[in-house]
Amino acid sequence: MSEPANSQWETVIGLEIHAQLATRTKIFSGSPTAYGAAPNTQANLVDLGYPGVLPVLNGEAVRMAVKFGLAVGAHIAPRSVFARKNYFYPDLPKGYQISQYELPIVGKGELEIVLDDGTKKRVGITRAHLEEDAGKSLHEGLPGMTGIDLNRAGTPLIEIVSEPDMRSAKEAVAYMKKVHTLVRYLEICDGNMQEGSFRCDANVSVRKRGADKFGTRAEIKNLNSFRYIEKAIHFEVQRQIDLIESGGKVIQETRLYDPDKGETRSLRAKEEANDYRYFPDPDLLPLDLDEAYIESVRATMPELPDEKAARFVSQYGLSPYDAGVLTASREMAAFYEDVARRVGDPKLTANWVAGELSGWLNKAGVEIAASQVSSERLAGLLLRIKDNTISGKIAKEVLEAMWASGDDADTIIAEKGLKQITEPAAIERAIEEVMAKNPGQLAEYRSGKDKLFGFFVGQVMKATQGKANPAQLNELLKKKLT
């Protein structure tokens, strides 16, 4: 399913992104936050909501939230307040979640996204606040029962609330990817969507193009992959349009996306929604941050993706597209810069890192950090292109072998005898053999069928197992054929 083309309807989307902060311990207790431990082994009395226990704020979580705020140009609140969001659920041990409500730590900011056609768009960020995550309810292997795992309870989250500025699923995905890149740059979130470290709720509505009021929105909960977000929004938009066009009305409700069926379905209507009875948490003092503190955090800010991409364009002469790809993660950018420095050819390096190597990474489904070919090894390969030892085409073959074996380029070139043939005599010899074997084609070519030139290039390459230097081959072939 795709965006409703040239429709009279306009889609309006706002996202609430939940990013787990990469602190060592929980936001209000000293329990570790590591993922994947046996159920309830990383929950202490505070996380379990025992009688009498009290929360104590983790300063590291505050620092990370401030970093995010600074990265989106937001106002950092000199005073923010933790509030209790009250509701009953078995995976919520205290019967309330400690969050921020009226006074969040991060105020208004914005991010710029780049769409596929290269146009740029600003997406407003309404606010971002600190809160604790809940535990998990487990059903598998527990017939007739529900298990509660409170390992995740109390994991710090930052909830990033956007303005309803997005007008298509693609924009929503672009925005979410942008935030994803940013939090990983800032090293405040590992961005692992499978483990739920980065997930979002999407508020989706439609309205007639040109209307100034927003339509009634539905909230799609807990989307944890870029693909699901796109699909869920597409489904939801179509559902709302169909509903309105058939005389129905969209109701404000919370919906869940079912990735197996590819549809959203109602979880609860607004009337059934909880009244969370927010009020300031009397166990925690207001969080006061002074200018000196904020400046001390600012001093630790890394170069951000947009700044880095702009620098890649100006410093290395890359296209904005390549710069975007190469700055998608801090590790990717660092890898690129290391290779470029070793090779001394930023454009060649960009083509290979953003092209071939990324292809192998994607195929293996791994991040650059887990690349089979290190930056040093890739540089070794590119240097062999630069010094004409091998052609670009052969280099692809070498890279494939490097990826599989882990050997360096020179070893593979030597073992497989892939060194380029650059002696004119050897190339001429190969050309002559080909000409002798193909008298018919030679005659046709000479009688004016120029297209056959490519045939002869191919035959000579075949005869040399692709090792003939392409530029030299072209030149010599032209000479011989005429």
Binding site: L45, L48, G49, Y50, P51, G52, V53, L54, P55, V56, L57, R84, N86, F88, P90, P93, K94, G95, Y96, T146, I148, D275, R277, Y278, F279, P282, D283, L284, L285
Partner: protein, 486 residues
């Protein structure tokens, strides 16, 4: 003098001098608890074995010269404090089966100081009550007259201390829960400044008001205990990092020139005539000591009760949400589904007063009512705090009655919650403003004791204790023990 007739301070001296051992002391008081538990119902749990073990260790420390000022002294903890390995019920069926896996900071500090816990005292359920009649474990009776209440919510601690079943006990005070029972049982009850003593491990009722304190025979005893209990706790963000003075060393300061403010509003609002006479007599003692009296008006103070009954229930409705039958505590029989588990566990586990406050609190926090109730109450709370601050620019301490009447008969006010709530009319102000306050005995109306309340500025416990001690040097009300327990 009998051992049980001595104050905690005197017992400390006797222990140091090896006149008696900690084990002997524990045995004396454990015997008294056993003899009088049936009549007073002051205890929920008696921890005889642990007590004797702790007493033996204390004796070893005393023998080895490793003893601190509290080593070997017996006491009881209000059953609101979590005690490791010991049932901690908070006076509720909800926690009837709850054995705490950890010690509250107050308990841990007193344990580390070598005190010997004899048991856990009865209390109003979740500290919600002014008469100790809301306890799941039945009402506590006042040792001065078994037909009347001991006050609440620290009624078990008050009755046990007044009858000298223990020389001292801990309590908590959210709206008067230490001072009012101390007044009604003729003992000394100190509520420190909010943040002076850690709340960690104290089962929360209303977090912004709750404060741990002590119920003792004298101000001197209170000073002795507070010195150990007070101080910043990294586990409680609302505890204050303020140095702890030597409270005992600050006693015996002359009271000449002390400026005492009389809370005008307290003498106007429903104060029983004989009770007022006892208060005035105590004030005369202070005048004799060179203090000056002047009337002080805190115009917003009469709003204390309505403000309190918005703020405290609001916080309690949230604090008590964790008691859901899922992880610990009471769970109903064979729940059909999650909703049934919640509804019946909480419906059966909580008593009527707790439910009333949870409902009140849920209501005032609800969308559409929050601004009119909760926000408004917080605003008035600020005004009340400002009234006190203004008053303390003119006077050193404020004085008035602790409770409007002496102890009332069991059952007299249970059918009318508002009348019951008005019992705390004089004590709530100090909680709303976070101020230290003490109640000291100042005479009797008939057979029943009357308490004088002394309120000071933030962190002025040393001054408040000194002022209270001044009265106790001149009078012996605090040495009176009900005849049946003498």
């Amino acid at each position: 003098m009998s051992l049980h007739g001595k104050t905690l301070t005197e017992l400390a001296v006797g222990l140091k001098a090896r006149e008696f051992s900690s084990v002997e002391l524990a045995q004396v008081f454990l015997k008294r608890i056993a003899d009088h538990q049936a009549a007073l119902n002051a205890f929920v749990s008696v921890t005889q074995e642990q007590a004797l073990a702790a007493a033996r260790m204390a004796d070893a420390a005393l023998a080895a010269g490793r003893a601190g000022p509290l080593t070997g002294l017996p006491l009881a903890h209000k059953d609101i404090f979590c005690t490791e390995g010991v049932r901690t019920t908070c006076g509720s069926r909800m926690l009837d089966n709850f054995v705490s896996p950890y010690d509250a900071t107050v308990v841990a500090k007193l344990k580390a100081a070598g005190t010997v816990m004899l048991g856990k005292t009865n209390m109003d359920e979740f500290a919600m009550g002014s008469s100790n009649e809301t306890s799941y474990f039945g009402p506590v009776r006042n040792p001065w007259d078994l037909k009347v209440v001991p006050g609440g919510s620290s009624g078990g601690s008050a009755a046990a201390t007044a009858a000298r079943l223990v020389p001292a006990s801990t309590g908590t005070d959210t709206g008067g829960s230490i001072r009012q029972p101390a007044a009604l049982t003729g003992i000394t009850g100190l509520k420190p400044t909010y943040g002076r003593v850690s709340r960690y491990g104290m089962i929360a009722f209303a977090s912004s008001l709750d404060q741990a304190g002590v119920l003792t025979a004298s101000a001197e005893d209170a000073a002795l205990l507070l010195g150990v209990m007070a101080g910043f706790d990294p586990r409680d963000s609302t505890s204050v990092d303020e140095p702890v003075p030597d409270y005992r060393a600050a006693l015996n300061q002359p009271l000449k020139g002390l400026r005492i403010g009389l809370l005008k509003e307290f003498f106007e609002q429903g104060l029983e005539a004989e009770t007022e006479k006892r208060i005035r007599e105590a004030l005369a003692v202070y005048e004799k000591l060179g203090a000056t009296l002047r009337e002080v008006s805190l115009p917003n103070l009469p709003l204390s009760v309505p403000v309190y009954y918005v703020v405290a229930p609001a916080e309690c409705s949230s604090n008590l949400a964790r008691f859901d039958g899922v992880r610990y505590g009471y769970r109903c029989e064979s729940p059909r589904d999650l909703m049934d588990l919640y509804q019946r566990s909480r419906g059966e586990g909580f008593g009527a007063e707790v439910k009333r406050r949870i409902m009140t609190g849920t209501y005032v926090l609800s969308a559409g009512y929050y601004d009119a109730y909760y926000i408004k109450a917080q605003q008035v709370r600020q005004l009340i705090a400002a009234d006190f601050e203004r008053a303390f620019k003119e006077v050193d301490v404020l004085m008035g009655p602790t409770a409007p009447t002496p102890a009332f008969p069991i059952g007299a006010k249970t059918s009318d919650p508002i009348t019951m709530y008005l019992n705390d009319i004089y004590t709530i102000g100090a909680n709303l403003a976070g101020l230290p306050a003490i109640s000291v005995p100042c005479g009797f109306v008939g057979e029943l004791p009357v308490g004088l309340q002394i309120v000071g500025p933030h962190f002025s416990e040393a001054k408040v204790l000194n002022v209270a001690h001044g009265l106790q040097r001149e009078t012996d009300w605090h040495r009176r023990i009900p005849k049946a327990y003498a």
